[in-house]
């Protein structure tokens, strides 16, 4: 079912994004997890990717200026 890869870590690297996006097939997911179980080197890099995604989301979160909110409300079309 699963074919052997010449460089399993390189293959695992290719599977990282789809793995974290939950879009691998069941067979691919098991293959990735099988490798991760025995490879701390890849496991670290997967964990880093997860932390990075959360970190990026927090870092770019910029609250809307209050003045803009008022301007938007003023754009409403008055009732006749």
């Amino acid at each position: 079912m699963t074919q052997a890869h010449e460089d399993p870590c390189a293959h695992c690297e290719e599977m990282m994004q789809p793995y974290l996006d939950h879009i691998l097939t069941e067979a691919e997911r098991l293959e990735a997890e099988g490798h991760l179980d025995e490879c701390e080197w890849c496991r670290r890099r997967y964990r880093f990717e997860e932390s990075l995604r959360i970190y990026v989301r927090q870092a770019v979160n910029e609250p809307m200026p209050a003045a803009l909110k008022e301007k938007l409300a003023a754009l409403r079309i008055p009732l006749n």
Binding site: M16, R44, R45, F48, Y55, V60, M64, L75
Partner: protein, 194 residues
């Protein structure tokens, strides 16, 4: 009497629907702004874009189908306005040269950190500015998808509808875009260190 009442009822019902639409749309403004902020090149342009989007949405509220995803509907207007603003003219076909593999950023950070380090600590070496700057350096086509999916929490399908591109293109741009982002981050961190 029989002539005016149905009309008055219809007008009242429409007014009620419009007010509901406006309130619902305004309730999403924070989320719309959060995405717009990184689709547009600057904070000022993001604010303009959000205002234009709401002005247009309030005018054409009848074309929104109640019960469908209003946030996606608003973002579709916003994305089209952003494209109309001529941002496409700056787009350069930057491709593979910018990319690296998925482990690249971690390797660079861990390498300059010396010993094996905790992943959570490694990520903290990136400053908020590093991330905002790196994101803005990602070419538009890729950045749009990252911003919608990874920051705006839109599904691939919603992102495909908003950008009017096939879902397969969303996925490939997302994967390549994240690599480009990590490459940019690695470069900014290495510059800081030198």
């Amino acid at each position: 009497m029989a002539e005016t009442t149905p009309d008055a009822t219809r007008i009242a019902a429409e007014a009620r629907d419009r007010v509901r639409f406006e309130e619902e749309a305004l309730g999403l403004a924070d989320q719309v702004y959060r995405v717009a902020r990184h689709l547009a090149p600057s904070r000022e342009e993001a604010e303009d874009l959000v205002q234009e989007t709401y002005a247009r949405a309030f005018r054409s509220w009848r074309s929104y189908t109640p019960g469908t995803n209003l946030r996606a509907w608003l973002l579709r207007i916003l994305t089209n306005l952003n494209i109309d603003r001529g941002r496409r003219t700056q787009r350069a076909p930057q491709t593979t040269a910018l990319e690296a593999n998925d482990y690249y950023l971690y390797d660079k950070l861990a390498e300059s950190d010396g010993a094996d380090s905790d992943e959570d600590r490694v990520v903290e070496r990136l400053s908020q500015d590093d991330i905002v700057t790196a994101l803005s350096a990602v070419p538009h086509d890729f950045r749009d998808v990252i911003v919608l999916v990874d920051i705006g929490d839109f599904s691939y399908q919603d992102a495909a509808n908003i950008l009017d591109i096939p879902i397969g293109t969303v996925m490939s741009r997302l994967h390549r875009g994240r690599r480009i982002l990590k490459r940019e981050l690695a470069e900014s961190v290495l510059e800081d260190a030198s």
